[in-house]
């Protein structure tokens, strides 16, 4: 636990700074009130709105730990959302609809995993295939329109509350905690890291890298399907064209801001989760600020740049160097003072 805290300390500091910045611009940012059934306030919205990117980030962290990348998660969101909406409008009921949507995500992950682990296509290319073609599959399911549904149970997943907390928030935190525990309480985490750092050596040591890789892409597909269900339930409709569009990039960004290396190896799901919160705080902050839309991307880009530069290991090393110099000088001054 202490180690995890130490690992994600830079991300926590960054999140605090971003929250402070947004609070300066919009003073009521942290104000939370209870309206009788649920908590409301901008910060609650951040926790709710970060659900898709956080969920994608859980899977993406694992994929990136294996030195891979999954560009298809946004598309898998669209497919799973379309499946869920189609199933519920066909009268299948909530459990069947959710199961089918998750099944679609797992199948998509299985496809990606097989291309990467068995056929041996580079992950970026392998997942690009589904990224570009998958939206067509989703459009086939929705027949090109926004497939609207009115089932209150499914809508609950997107906009309901548990004990006053938005359900999407509960879902992403639970998913992150369960997956993180699964990784660290079993040997999965280490085996994934070993495969990501050196697949050949891991395979020679008896690690079943092929199965592990497929499982990781399936986990990513699973997380993407949860995100897709949340997104669809949120707007009570499956929008095959726009659901999850470009979210794979936000998910990758969350992983990177979370301090994980794109070269694979050591990973921290907690870091990615804070990365997702940082991104969503920036997004919500921009909307609350009232700046014209033209500035949205520039503001976001500048903030992300600043964050990444501040978190870069080089800068950290320089900072330690400066600190050691200051310390040395102080020590010198002290020793010279009689």
């Amino acid at each position: 636990m202490g180690q995890t805290l130490k690992r994600i300390a830079p991300q926590l500091v960054t999140l605090t700074l971003v929250v402070a910045l947004v609070t300066v611009i919009f003073p009521n940012f942290l104000a939370v009130s209870f309206d009788g059934t649920r908590f409301v306030g901008p910060a609650v919205d951040v926790l709710k709105r970060s659900a898709p990117v956080a969920l994608l980030g859980v899977g993406m962290t694992l994929v990136i730990a294996t030195r891979g990348i999954d560009l298809s998660v946004g598309t898998i969101m669209a497919i799973s959302g379309a499946v869920a909406a189609w199933a519920i409008t066909s009268g299948m009921g909530l459990p069947a609809s959710v199961a089918l949507a998750i099944g679609a995500g797992l199948m998509a992950g299985l496809w990606n995993g097989c291309l990467v682990a068995i056929v041996g296509i580079q992950p970026i290319v392998a997942t690009l295939i589904l990224m570009t073609s998958g939206r067509g599959i989703a459009q086939l399911i929705t027949e090109g329109r926004i497939l609207t549904f009115s089932d209150a149970n499914l809508a609950f997943i997107g906009s309901g509350s548990l004990l006053g907390v938005p359900f999407p928030t509960v879902l992403w935190i639970a998913t992150a905690v369960i997956v993180a525990l699964l990784m660290r309480r079993t040997a999965l985490g280490m085996l994934i890291e070993a495969t990501g750092i050196n697949r050949a050596a891991s395979a020679l040591a008896g690690v079943n890298a092929t199965v592990l890789l497929i499982a990781v892409y399936m986990a990513s597909g699973f997380c993407a399907s949860l995100a897709g269900i949340v997104a669809t339930a949120d707007i009570r409709g499956a929008d095959a064209n726009n659901a999850g569009l470009w979210l794979e990039l936000d998910a990758i960004l969350a992983v990177v801001i979370g301090g994980n290396s794109l070269l694979g190896g050591r990973f921290s799901i907690a870091g990615t989760m804070i990365g997702a919160l940082i991104i969503q705080t920036i997004n919500t902050g921009i909307m609350l600020s009232g700046f014209p839309s033209e500035y949205n991307l520039v503001i976001k880009a500048v903030l992300v740049l600043v964050i990444l530069v501040l978190q870069s290991p080089n800068l950290a090393a320089d900072w330690l160097f400066v600190k050691s110099l200051v310390k040395a000088r102080r020590a010198k001054v002290r020793s010279e003072t009689p």
Binding site: A187, E193, S202, A205
Partner: protein
Amino acid sequence: MLLSIRSLSKEFPGTKALQGVDFDLAAGEVHALLGENGAGKSTLIKCLTGAYRRDAGEILLDGQAIDPASTAEAQALGIGTVYQEVNLLPNLTVAQNLTFGREPRRFGMVNRRAQSARAREMLAQYGIDIDVERDLGAYSVAIRQIVAIARAVEFSGKVLILDEPTASLDAAEVKMLFSIVRKLREQGLGIIFVSHFLDQVFELTDRITVLRNGRKIVTERTRDINRLRLISYMLGRELEEAARDQRTATKSIGQKPMLRFEGLGCKGVIEPFDLEVGKGEVIGLAGLLGSGRTETAELIFGVRGASSGAAQDDKGRIAHANPREAIAAGFGFTPEDRKVDGIVAELSVRENIILALQARRGWAAPLSRAEQERLADHYIGLLDIRTSSAEKPVGELSGGNQQKVVLARWLAMNPRFLILDEPTRGIDVGAHAEILRLIQEITKEGMAVLLISSELDELVAACDRVIVVRDRRHVAELDGDRITSEAIVHAIAQPGAASQFEAA
């Protein structure tokens, strides 16, 4: 003195890499810099070439104090370096590499004709006549090495540092390289020669400086020192005599073999061969690079699919179609290229040691942290792995210690048959002897070892039986007193040696 280093010190977090080291290099001298892995050789060189900034001490070049902040600056001052992994650009032509940064120009454009002429001229001094318009990558390592030397001499011209230049050269190429080095010595260059091939050190160098644990131990003239004394300087203790004579006693002659491979082969890779492995036996595999040594190991361990053959023990057939099955059958394998196929660099020493054990248990049955630490500490102690902590990433360890970590990974599995492919390559004399001693230790408990090595001494010292591989075939088998360097060389060289195999 051309180059004088006075009380140079360099510290990294946790380790004092160099402590008050003195070093002198005269013009027209080849000076060997020797030491075990982690002794401080590469740190010293990096301080000299500006890759590291020293913490204390001074460097004098031609009597002038220098403080290079980058390799480019060191180069400009007159200190050129050629590394084992040649640091040139393989996708540029030889001529471009030779003149990179100093291209002859005409009207601001690179004058290609003059560039090629200049390059040919530079190489002619070394007696090399090649097409300088071809990409450097098209040439052998030896040629690349010479191109790198030519470039370093041209650009720097006072001090030339050769860091393990012969590691990937064959005998003829080494000879060619040495004649070039001698010529440069005659021209008055000061040459620092880093190598772990002691024969080459004795053949080529004028003086030897030994480092150990970041300190200078001794500088002596090469002709005044003998091999045993040199090794004892490097190790800080007298090298134990390789105890070959005691070995043969433990052999299990006449017993039923523990494992038997019959007709194992792979089309186009290696001809079918039979192999019997006795309990506690050390079997050597000798042969030139590419003869089928490593392929034999890969076939046994299931890295490569076999097109024929079967394996069995006293209980029946054994499946070994992939590494997981081979491991389940009680095999272990430390591959030749430990950086590429052996270590998982960013994982800790602890995690590297338990990796195979954990993989066999499956992801759902994790070893407890306490158990992992116990195993790691046990093997760090047993194999004398030099690391500041079990949590240190294994990539930060020296080569010999990385090899021991990979070895520990397999010992933790307690295999019955361990395949070691070039376990001592690229590691220094001390670790070398230790690993050979370890092989003896582990086989006492009944573990069998297949030792692949290019070093005949090693095979002669360690093995109960040596199989010679040539042209993708097992051509001879030597045992007992017939294991001598001469016999192995003879078998590798002579087509007629096949008859010996039949006799054995």
